[in-house]
Assembly symmetry: C2
Homo-oligomer: 275 residues x 2
C-alpha cells in the first residue's frame, strides 16, 4: 500500500487506529476454543466488528509462533482474510526481525511476498545492511524500532552516544539508508514528551505508537507532539480493545472500545486540520 492511500483512508475513516491482534488462547472467550481454529475465529470476529473504526491491524508474530505450526497457519489465514476482504486496511507484521543482509532478505520475502503484509517491524541493532533488504521492496514499509514503550528502553535506547541518545542516532543514521522513504518508526506513547524532539529529526515519517491505554500513554499528548501535515501517526491498541469482554458479545465490546478511540481521534484530526 502507498503512504498516500494510507493517509486517504485515515481521513476517510477519521481514524488512525491500529488494532493489535495479540491473541492469547487463555484470554479469549472460552466458547471459541471449540472452534477448529480458535485464533482465526477470534481475529475474524474482531476484524469484522472493527474494520470501519481502524485503518490498520498488527498481529504480533510471537503470539502465533507460540502455537507452532497451528499458530503460523492462523497467522496466514488472518492476513489472507484481511487482504481479500478488506484490502483498504494497512497490515503490520509486528515481528521485530533483523539479521545480516542475505538473511534479512529471507525475512523480507517471508513477510512482504509470501504473507503479503504491507509492513514489518525491524530491530536496528545490526545496522544498515540488516535493514536495507527490507527497504528494497516498493510500496512496502519497514517500521524501525526507535524508542520502545517498555521499561527496558532506558537500558540502551536513551543512553547517549557523543551527546546524543542512541534512539536519535538510529533515527538520524537510518535517514541516510537506501530507500529511506520506506521507513516508519516505532515510538512508545509512554514518552510523549520525546515526540517533539523526534519530529525535529524525522518531520515527515509515519510513527507507529504503541502504549496508549494499557501502558499508560495519552492520546492528546501524542497528537500534540507527533501529528504532522500527513497525520503521520498510527496509534496501536491491543489488549484494551480485543479483550474488552470474555463473553459471546466480545466482538461488539471490542468495537465499542475502538469507537471510543476513533471518536477521540476524529477530534484530534479536526483540531489539527481545521484551517
Amino acid at each position: 500500500m502507498t503512504t498516500e492511500k494510507l493517509i486517504s483512508e485515515i481521513k476517510k475513516k477519521q481514524s488512525f487506529l491500529c488494532i493489535g491482534l495479540d491473541v492469547d488462547l487463555t484470554k479469549i472467550p472460552q466458547h471459541l476454543l471449540n472452534n477448529e481454529d480458535p485464533i482465526f475465529a477470534f481475529n475474524k470476529a474482531i476484524i469484522d466488528a472493527t474494520h470501519d473504526l481502524c485503518v490498520a491491524y498488527k498481529p504480533n508474530t510471537a503470539f502465533y509462533e507460540a502455537y507452532g505450526l497451528k499458530g503460523w497457519k492462523s497467522l496466514e489465514k488472518t492476513i489472507t482474510y484481511l487482504n481479500e476482504k478488506y484490502p483498504e486496511i494497512f497490515t503490520i507484521a509486528d515481528a521485530k526481525r533483523g539479521d545480516i543482509g542475505n538473511t534479512s532478505s529471507m525475512y523480507a520475502k517471508a513477510f512482504f511476498e509470501d504473507l503479503a503484509f504491507d509492513s514489518v517491524t525491524v530491530a536496528p541493532y545490526m545496522g544498515k545492511d540488516s535493514v536495507e533488504p527490507f527497504l528494497a521492496f516498493k510500496n512496502k514499509h519497514t517500521i524501525l524500532l526507535a524508542l520502545t514503550s517498555n521499561q527496558g528502553a532506558f537500558d540502551f535506547q536513551t543512553k547517549t552516544i557523543d551527546g546524543k541518545e542512541v534512539y536519535k542516532q538510529v533515527l538520524e543514521t537510518s535517514k541516510t539508508w537506501k530507500n529511506a522513504e520506506n521507513l516508519m518508526y516505532v515510538v512508545g506513547a509512554t514518552k510523549a514528551e520525546y515526540l517533539g524532539e523526534i519530529r525535529n529529526i524525522i518531520p515527515d515519517s509515519f510513527l507507529l505508537v504503541p502504549g496508549v491505554g494499557a501502558q499508560g500513554g495519552n492520546l492528546q499528548e501524542v497528537c500534540k507532539y507527533g501529528m504532522n501535515a500527513s497525520v503521520g501517526l498510527l496509534i496501536n491498541s491491543s489488549r484494551g480493545i480485543i479483550y474488552a469482554s470474555k463473553n459471546e458479545d466480545f466482538a461488539e465490546a471490542s468495537a465499542q472500545k475502538a469507537a471510543l478511540l476513533q471518536k477521540d481521534m476524529a477530534i484530534e484530526l479536526n483540531n489539527y486540520f481545521k484551517n
Copy 2:
C-alpha cells in the same frame, strides 16, 4: 542441556563446531527438490554426515519462514529429528527475537518448549525486560547479540556511550540481569582483536562466533583471544560446510569440510589444555 554437558561433548568430540542450517532451495542439490520436504531431506543428510564432527546445529529461522507453513514444518521436523536421534547435540534457534516482556515470554515458549531448542539468539535493543523472560528457563540458553559479524555492526554497536562502546554496555548491563548465568553472546569472528576486551568483561561466558570462513574470520585468532578454561567458544560455519557440493555427494563433501575445521579445533584444544 546444561553447560557442563556441552563442555563435556566438546572435549569428547574435540570440536566446538556449530553448523548453520541456513537452507536456501536455490543452493541445495537439485535432485532433492523431488523430495516431499526438500529442506528436511537436505538437513537430515547433512546432520547424519556431520553429527560426530560438531557439537551444535543452528538453523536460522529466516530461511524457514521464507517458505511459509512448509518452511515452519521443515524446521519442526529438523529440531525433532535432532532431539530424538542426536540428543547430545546442542541446538540453537537463530531467531534474533526480542519484544516487550509478555511477548518475549511467548517467543521463549515457542523456541524452548514447543520446538524444544536448547538455546535461542536474542537482540538486546529493547533491554532487560525483553531478555529476562528467556533467561527464566532452566538449562536453556539465551544467546544475546553483542558484536555481530556484518558491516552494519559499526553503525551502532561500536559507537561509544560515555566512553564505552554500545556492545560493551550490552555485555556489562546484561550481567546484572536475573538468571544472567543462562546468557551466551554472539561475537563476530571478523573482529577477533575485540575478543580480548570482551573476555575482560565476560571471562566465563560461552561465545557463539559466526563469520569464520565465508565472512573472513580466522580460527586461530578467535581461539587465541576467546578461549577460556571451559573452552567458551562455539564457532559457526554455515555456507562453507553445507554448500560444499551441489552433487549427489553433497553430504560427504560437507563432512569433509567439517572434518577440516574439527581437526584445526582439536589442535587448538590440545594447545590450550595441554598442561
